[in-house]
């Protein structure tokens, strides 16, 4: 396999965007092409979850490649639920590693705010099993809520721990221009004050409003290239050193141990193995905190902390920006936002910024190795990526 490098990155604000979906995908691609100093690519991958249903548009990649005037380059749309972005990066990686392509542009976009929040929740709920989950009214927040209750009982996680994840990630997002939410929150405001139940109502008990990511529009792009191309372009050498993907049962109730996220564990193990690195090498990580509990659970499954001890590391401040292992420096899905198809690429964007030393006020000092976990369905399809700065 050939080595694969990230040579360009681009992003839109994650927020409500009032322009067409194909432009949300193309804009970050233009930024990334400019960043890389490239005007041609061999293949375009476009990650998106729900364009046919939300935006009346299918075959998004065909629209995007033409809009960018990159025809006749090959173009492929990748729909893999909330893990679409990570999956598209993995496909781009394979294209370069195999020697078939020298430059692959991987962009992702979602325009969820075309519909109201209940409809958006329903579109996302289509990820659940149609006959054994969807018919009951199961939504992603409800699956996360049932998981949270088991986690609380087994490991002693409390609402306060969940609130600490939200406060930390909102704080990080304050310094991220592209984040959806620029809103300082406090434990007092969301849990302790007499107004807390109004500020922070239940969405699916025990999860509250500030335990859930916002419904965002947005796009993000990374350009992958061979070592030869990367060396010519002269950007910092950021290698995509490890990739991994694993799956789990479609129905959450079929999992032998319902508090395990085996797909996260499996995807992370593969990525570590390929890169020759271990969790102790990681300096900065973006984890898929669509719900606050997921940051805690994933931080354990990817090997940063022992199972059942992620909330203790959080309590000690180890995952804060100035901690031992900063998690979700971008604000995470919780505060940066979750434009579903773009999310996995947005995570990679943040890690590349960090490894280049371009993350501004949220820069992690001397970060050389970064990790992302992009979590699809309720943990039934997960992609983990490891990036390493080499120069």
């Amino acid at each position: 396999m050939r080595e694969v490098y990230v040579v360009g990155i681009g992003i839109t604000s994650f927020t409500r965007l009032e322009y067409p979906l194909s432009e949300i995908a193309a804009y970050p691609a233009m930024v990334a092409l400019k960043d890389a100093g490239l005007s041609k690519v061999d293949h375009v991958y476009v990650a998106n979850m729900a364009s046919a249903r939300l935006n009346h548009q299918s075959g998004l990649a065909s629209a995007v490649v033409d809009s960018l005037s990159l025809t006749p380059a090959g173009a492929t749309t990748i729909e893999n639920g909330p893990a679409s972005g990570g999956s598209a990066i993995l496909q781009g990686f394979l294209g370069i590693a195999s020697g078939m392509f020298d430059v692959a542009l991987v962009t992702g976009a979602e325009r969820l705010r075309e519909v109201n929040n209940l409809e958006a929740t329903e579109v996302v709920a289509a990820l659940a099993h149609p006959l054994a989950e969807q018919i009951y009214g199961v939504t992603l927040p409800s699956l996360a809520a049932m998981f949270t209750r088991l986690y609380m009982q087994k490991y002693g996680v409390t609402e306060r721990h969940l609130g600490m994840v939200a406060v930390k990630n909102h704080d990080n997002a304050l310094d991220n221009f592209y984040a959806h939410l620029h809103e300082k929150i406090t434990i007092e405001g969301i849990l302790d004050s007499p107004e807390a139940s109004t500020n922070n109502p239940y969405v699916a008990e025990p999860l509250r409003f500030f335990d859930c990511c916002p419904v965002s529009d947005g796009g993000a792009c990374v350009i992958l290239a061979s070592k030869e191309v990367a060396q010519k372009l002269g950007k910092p050498m950021i290698r995509l050193a490890g990739v991994g993907q694993a799956t789990d049962t479609h129905c959450v109730h079929e999992r032998a141990e319902p508090t395990d996220l085996l797909a996260v564990r499996g995807a992370a193990e593969q990525a570590y193995k390929m890169s020759g690195l271990t969790p102790s090498h990681v300096h900065v990580a973006e984890l898929h905190d669509a719900f606050t509990i997921l940051e805690i659970a994933e931080s354990e499954e990817v090997g940063f902390f022992k199972k059942g001890e992620g909330h203790l590391a959080l309590e000690r401040g180890e995952t804060r920006l100035n901690g031992k292992l900063p998690i979700n420096t971008s604000g995470g899905l919780k505060a940066k936002g979750h434009p579903v198809g773009a999310t996995g690429i947005g995570q990679a964007h943040e890690i590349v910024l960090q490894l280049r030393g371009e993350a501004g006020k949220r820069q992690v000092k001397e970060a050389q190795v970064g990790f992302t976990c992009n979590f699809g369905g309720f943990g039934n399809n997960v992609v983990c990526l490891i990036f390493k700065r080499e120069d």
Binding site: N117, G137, T139, L150, Y202, H253
Partner: protein
Amino acid sequence: MALEILAYKCRKCGDLHYPLRMVCKKCGKNEPHEFDTVPLPKRGKLLTFTTVHNLPPDFKVAKLNLGIVELENGMRITGQLKIPAPKMGMPVTGKVEIVREADYSKNYGIVFYPA
């Protein structure tokens, strides 16, 4: 006859599945549709639950209790709860009822009550 929720028993190894899958998860050896149907038990204990406040728009209620129940035979099922104050581990018993209605369709599924 009371309505049932069916589990799928592999004709090769006897392992039970719910919901239906094409290939047995235990032995992986069956031909297509090589499963016998067996009614799932209706009694069990509540493993975990939630009260959902942001339901899909076709639900005409403000909130709904959902849960995962561990049935008497050790299998698990997701269902609705008609239990005012659910508690983890409480004994429950299920009935098959209409759980979601659209304009031209009625979906039947399991609803659990206190045992």
